[in-house]
Amino acid sequence: MVMSTKGEIVILIAEDDAGHARLIEKNLSRAGLRNTIQRFEHGQAILDFLFRRGPGPHRVDDMPYLILLDIRMPQVDGVEVLRQVKADADLRRIPVIMLTTTDDPREVERCHDIGCSSYIVKPVDYEKFAEAIKSLGLYISLVQVPEVSGK
């Protein structure tokens, strides 16, 4: 495994609410992040990307990724995506940050148990929301993300 900060981290957002995704993008950019952001509308789409299935875009070898996962999505939800990512020998190294509108402690605990790196509650209060995304931006700019290769 090669640790590298050379390549710009690509941020993958799985978020079924286009508005939320847009707000995240805007705030990340306001926080000074210039990373490439790739949005997926539901869990299945990001799984297809990561596991290189279907006709859509697929992940690229040796590219550092970071995943932002909304928990509540139709069909394949965020927890299921997290589970599959953490169960894969290569993908498990990718940092996964959960995004949710609820701070239900059972839900938080479950995600930590499966192995998420962080857990962010999307507050209705926009200042807090912006704040949360800003610290997320800071986290992303500092974190060392492994490049993922494999199948």
Partner: protein, 547 residues
């Protein structure tokens, strides 16, 4: 004395016949002329007889042919409350209450005349009258004593008040045992039934004569044979087994829930000779308990469902709020930027930036805010619809399903044609339900079947039905995209949507459908395979049910 005490009544009477029975007065004043040796011997024997008579337990009364009392022993004195002095010389009817008193002279007269005895040599239960006016039951045996020139009658009397009381008590208890609803059974220590009351006949279906003499084990279901052995072992130790709840088998083979108390039966000296059982039918109670448990279960389910709804609602309502709040702030940002630029030197205005703000950022924010408001509004409308469903009055009637489905298919004709779908309806059994609500159920299911069609083959929807006992089961089968196993449980969840992007709707159809089924005491469930298709089943009562 021992010599006489061994004499039978007949012998005693024979001896009496040899004597001239006299009143005690006469006995007390023996004539001096009889003071011969033989007379002394006779007197001795007479004295001894009198002693015997006086110590006899039975009352002994002698009367003549006219019914006049000639003598009475101590026991009789005590029994009737007269002294010999008082009673000797009076008619024996003095010792009888009306109407026997009046009839008595006639009895003797008739016997003396015809020789037909009603009582002599037989013995029977009659009523006696004491001096103090009390009447009492007694056993009377009368013997005739023929002397040389006349005949006497000797009455042997025994007070049977206690025996009568005991008999009365026994029959009283027997009446209680017979009239109770509980089964009261006795058995010996080997488990053979020795008594069986009316309640037992009703409870187990065996008549008394079918039960007595047979083993109690005939009432045991095969899996409970050991139970009775354990109970009998406890009984042998002298202990009771109280309110033991179990199942027994009726004569017709049906199981019955009972509560039974088994206690040892003892002889007066304490030896355990068997067991008594008091069994009670607790089927109703058991059923009530089961009903209660089922109700509690349903309530718990409902509660869980409600929690899920609240959880989902809070999440789903929050999502658009995040957008409204967020994009409002974005609008503020845009306004601030605009104001800043306008306040600056006009020449410096960056037209490109302003254009981006006005043409992109602001319209985008407004769009999301409006979409958020619309989303919240439709969620709230959904909640209202859902809650209204629980309150709306239902008119349950017999529903002919073919016309009902035909009407739905006709109403959806455009949609069906547009999707290139084919709907095939078989002969359907009738059921009972509210026609508007049941129409809503099927129109929702058919709509879903068309909506979630597969792009790979022409859509085909089959509707068929069958009857199982008192339930009509309908199926709506499609050949569409199907539902993955892990999502099948979620499809009835409120606001759950299969493909939010691809199709319209608020994710309420199946939730409402399920609620309608619940209100009809019916059920809805799904069988499905990904990319093969789904079959939704709906079961409804064929006959209207009392709720």
């Amino acid at each position: 004395m021992t010599e006489y005490s061994r004499m039978s009544k007949a012998e005693l009477i024979a001896r009496l016949q040899a004597l001239e029975i006299r009143s005690p007065k006469e006995t007390a004043q023996p004539s001096p002329t009889r003071q011969t040796l033989s007379n002394t011997a006779l007197f001795d024997s007479e004295e001894r007889l009198r002693a015997i008579l006086d110590t006899a337990v039975e009352g002994i009364i002698t009367i003549d042919e006219r019914g006049i009392i000639e003598s009475m022993n101590r026991a009789a004195e005590k029994l009737f409350g007269y002294s010999s002095e008082e009673i000797v010389g009076r008619n024996v009817s003095t010792l009888m209450p009306s109407p026997y008193r009046e009839a008595h002279d006639g009895y003797i007269e008739k016997y003396v005349r015809t020789g037909h005895a009603k009582i002599i040599g037989i013995g029977r239960e009659v009523i006696g009258l004491r001096k103090n006016g009390e009447v009492f039951p007694m056993d009377l045996a009368v013997s005739e004593v023929r002397l040389a020139n006349r005949r006497l009658f000797t009455g042997f009397v025994r007070d049977i008040t206690e025996r009568k009381e005991a008999e009365k008590r026994l029959s009283y208890y027997a009446a209680i045992v017979e009239s109770t609803e509980d089964a009261i059974i006795s058995q010996d220590l080997s488990g053979i039934i020795t008594s069986w009351n009316k309640g037992a006949e009703n409870l187990f279906g065996y008549m008394r004569e079918e039960a007595i003499g047979n083993p109690f084990a005939m009432l045991l279901p095969p899996d409970r044979l050991a139970e009775e052995e354990a109970i009998l072992a406890t009984i042998r130790k002298g202990l009771s087994v109280e309110r033991f709840e179990t199942v027994r088998k009726r004569k017709d083979g049906k199981p019955i829930d009972i509560s039974v108390t088994t206690s040892p039966l003892r002889t007066p000296d304490g030896t355990i000779v068997g067991a008594s059982k008091v069994a009670r039918d607790i089927t109703d109670r058991k059923r009530a308990e089961e009903k209660l448990a089922a109700l509690a279960h349903t309530l718990a389910e409902k509660n869980k469902e409600l929690e899920t709804i609240v959880y989902i609602a809070s999440h789903d309502l929050r999502s658009p709020l995040v957008n409204i709040q967020g994009f409002s702030r974005e609008l503020s940002h845009a306004c601030e930027t605009l104001r800043a630029r306008l306040n600056a030197d006009v020449k410096e205005i960056d037209r490109v930036e302003l254009k981006r703000l006005l043409d992109e950022d602001i319209p985008e924010a407004l769009e999301y805010i409006q979409a958020g408001v619309t989303k919240i509004d439709s969620l709230l409308a959904g909640f209202l619809r859902y809650s209204r469903l629980g309150r709306a009055a239902m008119k349950v009637e017999k529903l002919e399903m073919n016309p009902l489905i035909d009407a739905i298919v006709q109403a959806m004709e455009f949609q069906i044609k547009h999707a290139g779908a084919k709907v095939i309806v078989s002969e359907l059994p009738a059921c009972s339900g509210d026609s508007t609500l049941i129409s809503q159920v099927f129109s929702n299911l058919i709509e879903n079947a068309v909506k979630y069609r597969s792009p790979n083959r022409p859509c085909e929807v089959q509707i068929s039905g069958r009857v199982e006992k008192d339930t009509a089961i309908y199926s709506v089968r499609d050949n569409g995209i199907g539902i993955a196993l892990e999502h099948q449980g979620k499809v009835f969840e409120i606001f759950h949507r299969l493909n939010p992007g691809d199709s319209e709707g608020e994710g309420l159809g199946l939730t409402i459908t399920q609620r309608i089924m619940e209100r009809h005491n019916g059920r809805i469930w799904v069988e499905s395979a990904t990319d093969k298709g789904s079959t939704f089943f709906v079961s409804l009562p064929t006959m209207p049910q009392a709720k």
